[in-house]
């Protein structure tokens, strides 16, 4: 008994918390909590406006806090000072990559919230069902619609998710990482099930995402347990130290632990063979949610992967790199090849996102500063393009609902030259054609891998380039449909978006072009950000 108590300090010492470093996350979480109160107390007719304004204000505030306060506080925080060294072992680590990814997530969130709030002249957000609790097609649902119900609770959910995403890449220990993972995931599960149209598909997607997500969380937790057994601590810094001085009795726990944690993280980015949920969820979820999820979840999850692999278990690189390379190759091939046969634009973009996850993993496997900055650049570039692309998918309608079948996109270029032109440009960016951000990003992840100069990484890059060639075929096929084919279905039209959605599309496309033509400034930023605090 006394032996156990010996570890407990005589007096209670509060954890050291640097509130300045945490300010952006705190702003987002408090706004989310206020949003819940708004749901309870603000009358229905003004609820939508209040929620959207609150969300936008919170995101802007968080950006401001990030730029003004947090960026000057590069610390590991929210933890106890070490007895020996006096250094804080932080549950949250605010360093270059964390700040960059938080800013990235905030930018994505701001762009996404404009598409979330798109009403197309209706009462509530167009993409979301007025009453999620009602059985689809039931009398209750009809009554709710007639009564002017709306799902404004999407916005607090969204903010919780954003908060989780900001915490995820900044987690200094595996338990915080797990909590962040759940905080970002749970609201996403709900939001996936809230589509206004094709509600059964949407609910199926939500359930699938939830079940598989819970499954992967279990893997993650089991891995954390094994690593705790190995290192005697969940802090990444301690795990790293334990690998440096291996204890032969427990080494058997290390590799399974790393792999199980990695499975939990790779599930979130949709890497093969943990990608099965992606097409169904991307297709079923409301399109703005899909765009947000594809961009921001990927950014946050790659941040967590980078921190786990580069800070926690970098010394065990020879154990995990071969596995990660195989997963990366598999992801690229699966994503590219399966996207060829898709007939639904959202499923197609889902498979393309799988392929892109594979490309990003190529950068991760490099385990170098260049690999880190390349990965950071890629998630930013890919996310901007993705949000704009899904915002456009949301506009192409047939009889009120989205025209997601590819055949419905035929001849779009002739009738809506601007929309089709921008979409074609975004597709070229996905394909990685020079002078778009996609090319710069691919270069940024492939070059460090080649610089590693092992035959394995050369092979990986070659597989990546061949997969790119396959994906080019896929994207070119859509361009063929839009431009070189005559329309089959005349009631497909692009509906007039609000200025907000237009702004999202414009910002996404302009940045896609800028990062392709003049990426030097942003590359400079990621290069300076590419330094983890250990």
């Amino acid at each position: 008994m006394t032996a156990v108590l010996a570890g407990i300090p005589a007096a209670f010492t509060p954890a050291t918390i640097n509130f300045g470093a945490l300010l952006p996350i705190l702003v987002v979480f408090s706004a989310a909590v206020i949003g819940v109160l708004v749901e309870a107390f603000v009358p229905r007719q003004s609820r939508f406006t209040v929620q959207v304004s609150l969300t936008v204000a919170a995101l802007l505030g968080a950006m401001l806090a990030l730029a003004a306060v947090a960026s000057k506080n590069h610390v590991a925080t929210a933890g106890m000072p070490s007895v020996d060294t006096g250094l804080v072992k932080g549950a949250v680590v605010i360093d270059g990559p964390a700040l960059f990814l938080q800013a990235t997530v905030l930018i994505f969130a701001l762009l996404a919230v404009f598409t979330f709030g798109e009403r197309f002249g209706g009462v509530g957000a167009d993409a979301f069902t007025p009453m999620a609790a009602a059985v689809p097609g039931s009398v209750r649902e009809t009554e709710a619609v007639r009564g002017g119900a709306l799902t404004a609770e999407v916005f607090p959910l969204f903010l919780f998710s954003v908060g989780g995403m900001m915490l995820f890449p900044a987690s200094g220990d595996l338990l915080t990482m797990f909590v962040a993972l759940e905080v970002l995931s749970l609201p996403l599960y709900i939001m996936c099930g809230l589509a206004r149209r094709r509600r059964l598909l949407s609910q199926e997607a939500a359930l699938k995402y939830f079940l598989l997500g819970a499954f992967s969380s279990a893997f993650f937790l089991f891995g954390v347990a094994l690593l705790y057994g190995y290192a005697g601590s969940v802090y990444l810094a301690d795990i790293s130290a334990a690998i440096a001085q291996p204890d032969s009795a427990l080494t058997g726990l290390l590799v399974p632990g790393i792999l199980l944690v990695a499975i939990g993280l790779l599930f979130k980015v949709g890497a093969a063979p943990f990608h099965m949920w992606t097409p169904d969820v991307y297709q079923g979820a409301p399109t703005p949610v899909t765009g947000f999820m594809a961009a921001a979840t990927k950014a946050a999850a790659f941040g967590a992967i980078l921190r786990f692999l580069y800070v926690g278990v970098d010394l065990a690189v020879w154990d995990w790199r071969p596995v990660l390379m195989i997963i990366s190759a598999l992801t690229m091939v699966v994503g590219a090849v399966l996207s060829v046969t898709q007939t639904d634009i959202k499923r197609l973009l889902a498979y393309s996102s799988i392929a892109h996850a594979g490309f990003i993993l190529v950068g991760v496997t490099a385990l170098s500063k260049a690999g880190l900055s390349g990965t950071l650049f890629y998630v930013l570039a890919y996310g901007l393009t993705t949000i704009a692309a899904f915002a456009i998918v949301n506009l192409v309608r047939s009889g009120g609902s989205e025209a997601t079948h590819l055949s419905q996109w035929a001849g779009l270029g002739k009738r809506h030259p601007w929309t089709a032109g921008i979409f074609a440009f975004l597709l070229l960016a996905f394909a990685g054609i020079p002078l778009t951000s996609g090319f710069t990003a691919k270069f940024a992840v492939f070059a460090p891998a080649l610089a590693n100069d092992t035959s394995g990484s050369t092979l990986l890059v070659l597989i990546g380039l061949l997969s790119s060639a396959v994906t080019v075929f896929v994207y070119a096929r859509i361009i063929v449909l839009m431009y070189f084919t005559d329309a089959s279905d005349d009631d497909v039209a692009v509906i007039e978006p609000s200025p907000w959605t237009t702004a999202t599309i414009a910002v996404g496309s302009v940045l896609t072009l800028t990062l392709g033509v003049a990426p030097a400034a942003v590359l400079d930023v990621v290069e300076r950000a590419s330094q983890f605090i250990r």
Partner: protein
Amino acid sequence: MNQFPWLTVIGLIPLLGAVVLWAVPGIGSRAKEIALGASVVTLLVAVAAALQFNTGGTEKFQLVEQHPWIPQFGVSYALGVDGIALSLILMSVILVPICLLAAWRDLPEEQQGRERHYFALMLVLETFMIGVFAATDVFLFYVFFEAMLIPVYFLIGQFGGPRRQYAAMKFLLFSLAGGLIMLAAVIALYVQGPGGADGFLLTKLAGLQMTESTERLLFLGFFIAFAVKAPMVPVHTWLPDAAAESRPATATLLVGVLDKVGTYGMIRFCLELFPGASRWATPVVIALALVSIVYGALLAIGQKDLMRLIAFTSISHFGFIVLGIFALTTTSWAGSSLYMVNHGFSTAALFLFAGMLMRRNGGSKMIDSYGGWQRVVPGLAGVWLIAGLSCIALPGLGSFVSEFLVLMGTFQRYQVVAVVATTGIILAALYILLMYKRTMTGPKPEGLDHVRDLSPREKWVAAPLIALFLVLGFFPKPVLDLVNPAVKTIFSSIKVTDPGPMAGTVEGSTK
């Protein structure tokens, strides 16, 4: 040192024209005039730039510009030309206005709204063509190399013939597959090089010390992309489809200029950067070049479709150019460089005149739907014959000099090869004269009384091309003066000398 950014300006003018066409509303009816104006201005500025070029200069590149572009990747915005690049740029900027003029009535009345896209895409293509020949940074070259595909893809896919979707897709996939392999080589080359913020500059990458296997792999990465582009047998299959389905003006730019990037790249990258590996690959490349010459010519003889026929003649001619490059003598290089220019003009003439014929025959590309047309359109028949004769390298017309130089240079090193290659000339006479016979001779066809001979606009298309044939045929000295110093510089940098004069015992010679 020349401070004025000539090459950037030449490249920007057409781009500006394209932006005006797209951005200014209500300009659609004037699209053709604006596009032609932009391309003519480009031509004038390019001529002015060429006058600044000092053929006796000792620097490797002239008219150089260099600015950091993406220093993190080691990429600079670096332009500059030597004689070979400048001659190709001049060829391109001469061809574009001619093509625009020839494309004047390509779109039917009801599609006037799309006209500005058509002409704007051509102008964008011109910008990329200039950039690709002027880039002296490997990364920048790659960017232009790939970006060039997009306007062509749309030009074929949106404005082409009935199987345009298939042709556009095939073109894109072949080129991109080659290009992506090249991308791997581009990155790996940088890793081999000195690195740094301007590590992609050609001057920094020449003469690197690499292991033999690395050099060979890198060579292959570049060579495959260029072979697809050039196009050489066996990766040529996209060209006949793409050429047959595109409009004559597009086909001209595609075959006359774009494909030159392949042969130009072989000179600039394969041989200059990887001389050792090039020597290792020479037997295979020369064999493939010979196959291209003979096989392309044989297939050309068998074609029923005019456009495909011209495409196959080009495959044969590209065989000659590649042969000259890999024969690696100063004579054959001068020949190949000159051939690149001449081939551009003679192919342009064939495609554009074929387009004029096709318009008069309801758009039919089938050779057997013609016959006796020299009685219907005697003027057009005349220029058609001259274009054909230029294509088969009749003495006095441009291609003769270049073909002769290639064969002579090749003979200095590989006698048997040169002898085999000459069969290409005989086969060329066969395909061109057979085509002329089938289209032009015979009894006058019925019911074509309304068909007019060359219009003034078409005469303006034909006149400069024929003038160029004659000038380059009788007086190729200006181009050779431009090219020869560049060839010498490259040869001394890769340490190659011409084989000495041959002794009496020439194997395989019948003399």
